[in-house]
Amino acid sequence: MNYFLEVKDFSHTIGEKTILKNMSFGINKGDFISIIGPNGAGKTTLLKCLDGILPLEKNVSIYLDGKQLTKYSRRDLSKKISYVPQAERQTFPFTVTEFIFMGRYPYISPFSQFGLKDNEVVRWAISCTGLESLANRRINSLSGGERQKVFIAAALAQETEIILLDEPTAFLDYKHQTEIKSILENLNKKSGVTMISVTHDVNSAVVNSDSVIAVKEGCIKFQGSIRDLMNVKLLREIYDTSFNLLKHPTNGGFLIVPGKEE
């Protein structure tokens, strides 16, 4: 079977240090994958490798649509995969609209102006993320949750088939967590965008994803369905601490509570 995005026995070293070791997994079009694991496990590094943000070897064993990742030009790759970083960073005080328009970068050439199509896509991205009322605000005056939506909208404006997200709901309050989750879920279900989301929080992964990849010390410890992940022994192996499972009140699944096993 051919995966849309396939990682075959991939390792990545930075300097002398091997960050990722012999990883293999495949992702189909339209999947919603969560990559979980403790801090420093290499989740973000993996995400950055998938988008070629970190320099990759020429002969890299990551394939997108059957083609080696390094065979894509920067610009072509950016039309296929977009990346949403943690929105905590400082930046110039662009307006929300200006910032989202930057997602159109791969589609414009130097000296040219944004066209009708660009306007249309940006308007769509704004409405998907419910940012209409904030469109003219400056992004450094927004709250963390609002800012995260702007970063997602900019990735949407890039019109890619895959969106990579780095801890999209960490640091956000419950309302914004819920809103962001439902935005991502809508995009995944209705528009068929493939989502790959990194999170250290298993409970937030549980809500959206179809399947989970657990990373520890640069190795894949587990990949499969959420249901199979909900195993106290497995979770302890991944996170080096004990957990209790708790029945989710509405969806029939489980939630995890860190603490001494009972």
């Binding site: 950055k48 988008d51 070629g52 943000i53 920067r74 610009r75 072509d76 790759l77 950016s78 039309k79 995969i81 977009s82 990346y83 970083p85 960073r89 400082q90 930046t91 110039f92 005080p93 662009f94 307006t95 200006e98 910032f99 930057m102 997602g103 970068y105 791969p106 414009i108 130097p110 000296f111 400056r138 450094n140 005056s141 890039q158 990579l164």
Partner: protein
């Protein structure tokens, strides 16, 4: 802050710049008889106008716009409001070159360019490659690492300059101090032709990379994921604008403030979108230096004040005023 329609800003700035330049040409210790300027008559008024005032205004405008544009690019490249080619050591390199030349009393001309300018430009080049080489050797390309390397080089050069000043006699020492204050006094067009290619090539490069500057201002990882070739773009813009600054400083001396403050002031008024910001920075940097130079000619006339003193004296408080106004509205940079 300003709610001027976007389309009105550029024509307004062009008109303003032309007006400032025109007024400046008729400002100075000697008042000119306009009638004498027309025609080919060889009189003293036309001599002052065509050989002193016009080239001086041209040089001031080009230098101001070059310095301001370079500052804007550095602030975006390093995502740091303090980054300019000056902080990165370009101007202290140039100053060191000039000081050595003045101390040793080397006098020659190269294609009509004075020995001081040639040495200053060599110094600027030296510092650019030194900073870049240091960062490369350390293997860290973070913006903070480059800034620190730049500041360290800059401070080292500054103390070497002080040393040269200390071992100079009074005349040489005064020449060095005077050079460090900056100025755009010229006779004839040689200096203008020296600066022109630097500023114009720089402007074209910057113009080509305006979209990249916007995207890179949000972070290297985001820029890469949007399809920007960050490494090459940064290298081209870094060397391109450093050369602009080196070219300008080698002729006019290190005129501070413009490279750091003009981009900030424009950003507070126009916003950070480089496609609108760059032309505004270019025009206002140029006309600001022309304006300051005109002031320098009349404030203590018939003597002249070094223009570097005026740029900072005027621009500093103006920036602080804008800054406080902007801060209240959460519109400050960073």
């Amino acid at each position: 802050m300003s709610k001027l329609p976007d389309k009105a800003i550029l024509p307004l700035l062009i008109a303003g710049s032309l007006a400032v330049c025109a007024v400046s040409m008729f400002t100075g210790a000697t008042s000119l008889n306009i009638k004498a300027l027309i025609g080919t008559a060889n009189n003293i008024d036309s001599m002052i106008f065509w050989q002193i005032r016009v080239p001086r205004v041209c040089l001031a405008f080009l230098s101001g716009s070059g310095l301001a544009l370079s500052g804007m690019v550095f602030q975006a490249l390093f995502r740091n409001p303090l980054a300019t080619p000056f902080t990165m050591g370009v101007s202290s390199g140039a100053a060191l070159g000039a000081s050595v030349c003045l101390r040793l009393g080397v006098i020659f001309t190269f294609c009509g360019i004075s020995s001081v300018s040639v040495c200053a430009f060599t110094g600027a080049l030296l510092s650019i490659f030194l900073v870049y080489g240091l960062v490369r050797a350390a293997g860290i390309f973070s913006t903070v690492a480059m800034l620190l390397a730049g500041v360290a080089v800059s401070l080292t050069f500054s103390s070497i300059i002080l040393f040269f000043q200390y071992i100079s006699d009074f005349a040489q020492s005064y020449k060095i101090v005077r050079w460090l204050m900056g100025g755009v006094e010229v006779f004839g067009y040689e200096s203008v032709f020296h600066v022109f290619p630097f500023v114009m090539c720089g402007a074209v490069i910057v113009w080509f990379y305006l979209n990249e500057l916007n995207v890179m201002a949000t972070g290297d990882d985001v820029a890469l994921s949007r399809g920007v070739n960050v490494r090459n773009t940064r290298k081209i813009l870094f060397f391109g604008t450093s050369l602009v600054t080196g070219g300008v400083v080698s002729v006019c001396g290190p005129i501070g403030f413009i490279g750091m403050m003009i981009p900030h002031i424009c950003r507070l008024i126009i916003g950070p979108d480089h496609r609108k910001l760059a032309p505004a920075v270019f025009l206002s940097g140029g006309s600001f230096l022309v304006f300051c130079d005109a002031l320098s000619r009349i404030l203590i006339a018939p003597a002249e004040m070094p223009v570097g003193i005026i740029t900072a004296l005027l621009g500093g408080p103006f920036f602080l005023w804008l800054f406080l106004k902007g801060a209240a509205k959460e519109e400050v940079c960073f």
